[in-house]
Assembly symmetry: C2
């Protein structure tokens, strides 16, 4: 996968898909945070919130890795988790689409 070439148009498409996914996921985490705060029963629950955000931050940092050598994996994972759909990748070469779908399937299983 490291040797795949990405055209200028393909780079634009993937960048857009990344941004969309990141925005959606961040918004989800923000809503979860609001929910955790509003349903907390004790001030000490902020440490639980902190644990949650620490874990999610690591996950997000790891997931949104825009190096071309790992882009197929990153996009497959984003599809498997529902942050983007196949439609968001329209315009990529078929070989790439196929590989991304394989990765998404692998994550889902």
């Amino acid at each position: 996968m490291e040797n795949l070439a990405w055209s200028k148009k393909e780079k634009q498409i993937t960048r857009q898909a990344f941004n969309k996914a990141y925005e959606k996921e961040t918004k989800y985490l923000y809503n979860r945070t609001k929910e955790m705060v509003s349903t907390s029963k004790s001030p000490e629950d902020i440490w639980e919130l902190h644990d949650f955000l620490t874990e999610k931050r690591k996950e997000v940092d790891n997931k949104y890795d825009y190096r071309y050598s790992v882009l197929i994996f990153a996009l497959g994972r984003l599809i498997s988790e529902g942050w983007i759909t196949k439609d968001d990748l329209k315009g990529l070469g078929q070989e790439k689409i196929n590989k991304i779908e394989q990765v998404a399937k692998f994550y889902r299983e």
Copy 2:
């Protein structure tokens, strides 16, 4: 300070003071968290909240150190930051009170 002896009564007093300070500080952090969430302008502000909680957690872990060898320092710091008052330490030996006040003064300066 490491060689100070703490009577059973003194241990009870300091334990109570610690608990009171921890409760007050945690409640303050909880209110700050609620405030940060409610005034945030973008979902991405959760990372700022995470930074804040990471820093405060380190600070709290460091501050609430109930080893007798460092208790004078811990109590002095709690007084200097306003989480407890001199009244909360009524019943401790005068030597200890004096040392705690010296530490509090040191922190304030």
